[in-house]
Amino acid sequence: MSAHIGLNSLNGLSRREFLTAMGGMVVSFAVPTADAAHAAIASARTGPWPEKIAADALDSWLIIGADGRVTACVGKIDAGMGIVTSFTQIIADELDVPMESVTVHMGDTATTPDQRGTGSSNGIIDGGSALRNAGAEARGALMAMAAIRLNVLAAQLTTADGAVSVVGMPDRRITYAELVGGKRFDVKVSGKATPKEASQYRFVGKPIPRQDVEQKVTGKYAYMVDFKLPGMLHARLIRPPQAGAKLLGFDAKQKLPGMVKVVSRGDFLAVVCTREEQAVHAANALKVKWAAPAPMFSASYDALYRHLRETKPTVSEENQKTGDVQAAFAKAATKLDVYYEYPFQSHACMGPACAVADVSRERAQVWMGGQKPYPLRKAVAETAGLTQEQVRVTWLPGPGSYGMNDADDAAIDAAFISTEIGKPVRLQYSRADGTAWDPKGPPSAIHMRGGLDEKGEAILYHFESHGYSGRTRPSGTDSFGDSLAAQLIGGFKTKSTNLFQLPSESYKFAHKRRAAHLIDWTQSLNTGLRTAHLRDPDGMATCFASECFIDELAHTARMDPVEFRLKHLSDARHKLVVKAAADKAGWHARPSPSSRKTGPIVTGRGLAYAPRAGSVVAIVAEVEINIDTGKLRVTRFVAAHDCGFVINPTSLVGTVEANLMQAMSRAMFEAVQF
């Protein structure tokens, strides 16, 4: 199986060295190990790095080595869904090479095109299509070169197994390596090459095992936390004990083992030591004085939701206005008036963030584990007082990430500390730094109103949310002000934007309105309650409210909830996905709830659906509730997941299953306390 080595072993190399390496050192890359990564890292070069990797140059995307190995460069990252394998399948098919010959290299600003990284599930959507087009362009370019070398028309040529040959004359053949191995294509991406038809694919669409799983279960997969630089120091942060607490001072004379420096600016405080455990100890032992702040937040969730509902919004948006919702509600024969509430939630990644930064007066290199390494380049330049050409940001696999977690803040913290001390530094957040201070999924107080007419027909759907923008902390970090460090230091502006909490659905009612109100939250910027993207930003809250409400409407109308949905949905594809989930689940059409009960256990079922950015998902859940203890257990999920063309069904199923588990945990158990 082809190797996922690019990112792990090449991040110290400049693009030119990388190209040279592909010609001369391929064997050492063939087995991807942490050791190979470290060997390459040891040869890290100093820049300056190109201002940008030209997206319109084929060489930016594909490199064919002297031995015929193909390296695909892409501006995405793999957060654990296995898209490296999917990219490998795409390139192997489009270019007609064995999967074993393909290496995927990603997430490095110095050697891969800037696609901002991965977010909104766009790894395959954008990265996959870019690579598919690059593969088609490259195959066309190789055939054009072969036509000259073999002295035939390009139309008479075909490609297979890393070589071009004349149709019907397999001996008249020239390999890709002979044509362009170790050299540049020097052609522009024309946008005119035609990728293959799906029927021609050999790898795409097949359940091919992920390449990273064996490395992960044998300890060979190199993560961000495994990265080391010679002479690197270890840093830990000391965050304010409460949101808004001001740093009064620390004991600068305190002797602590291995202490190199305390970095302090505004309310930002970090210790730097020779060894990691010394930094852990110093962060706990340093005598620090904080001023007790006035409470910044509501004292409870009840108070928070009340605050959200009663505070004048800073900005509002409404859409899907049909009929007259106020009048319809006033005269409805049966009224429904319901509140749904959704709390702050944490990414709570498996490991708190880690980053390494090496900043000098001439250059800055930062290694980070988040989804958006590319925008960070500008923010690091600002942090270190350098130009972008002097900055390189390299992604290494992190401990899971579900949007804007703590990775970017750690990268900027590390860059800031390294700038202050002029030495390479590794910053590892503590568990508390991670869970308490990572950006949070925003809370929402949602008001749903609906009604039935005299005939029992549902005629009204009125959605109104009150919450915080999910981009109070921006979803990429391209300015220092977006980082927690800047907000703790004070005096920097963040590029917060509005993200309105609106559901995605296609229900049609005679009277309908959806409105979202955002409440000012600037006081959160230097706290652990900054709101940001957390898997399906706002989707869990808005879908929870909207779909539960649809169930209430169906119940009030005494209709089966699936039948009710099919009756009111307007989008044909949405209906098909809902129907697929219900059919697979063996859904028994009847109004909910049933009266089935065995002892204290009652059983229930539910269906919810959500379209999102081109994908449509419907889930049937079967649950048991012990009415004596209140204990709830999900006994079965059936998921219908229509995400369009599937590159790798194995990876997709794994991702869907994992999403179900995470979503179940968040729905049943999780709320950040404050």
């Binding site: 279960v217 300890g219 993560y223 455990e277 709570a348 490991g351 994992a658």
Partner: protein
């Protein structure tokens, strides 16, 4: 400085010259370049740092170096080799738990996977053929944020069955 601490890591005798209260996790990762065990919480709450000490799964983030002096430590990197030695299997074989994780593609980001593999391996080494309920109990102190639990359970059940066959 006190005398260096001697221990055996993945079959190799090593001597480490750091304070004996240093958590084993940092010694393994930073002094001995063993990256299988990872920092997740530092509080023995997640299991990402699990290693075997004389065949038992322990949390290396809260285990001081002094506690393993003179003992055998196995990390994820050494798991297959130690298994192969014990069972006299051919080189290149993996521990049946690792094989089953690959078979069931039981990982997303994989940061936690060390904990699941090492805990399951230590448990099934002693109790091949463990039932699903026993496996759930044995793995109950572990975490996975990506939500790989279903594939992990399939993998460990497969490993348990395969190891029972091997033991028979």
């Amino acid at each position: 400085m006190a005398k260096p601490t001697r221990l055996t890591v993945n079959g190799k005798k090593v001597s480490v010259d750091v304070p004996v209260d240093t958590p084993l996790l940092y010694v393994l990762r930073n002094d001995l370049d063993q990256h299988g065990p990872r920092f997740g919480c530092g509080l023995a709450q997640c299991g990402a740092c699990t290693v075997h000490v004389n065949g038992d799964a322990i949390r290396s983030c809260v285990t001081p170096l002094s506690a393993v002096a003179g003992n055998h430590v196995t990390t994820l990197e050494g798991l297959a080799e130690r298994f192969v030695e014990r069972r006299k299997k051919g080189a290149g074989s993996l521990h049946p738990v690792q094989t089953a994780f690959i078979e069931h593609q039981a990982a997303q980001c994989g940061y936690c996977i060390n904990g699941w593999v090492m805990t399951a391996a230590a448990y099934l080494d002693k109790k091949p053929g463990a039932t699903e309920a026993e496996i759930r109990e044995a793995l109950s102190g572990l975490q996975c944020r990506c939500g790989s639990h279903m594939s992990i359970m399939r993998a460990v059940k497969l490993a348990s069955a395969n190891m029972a066959k091997d033991a028979a």
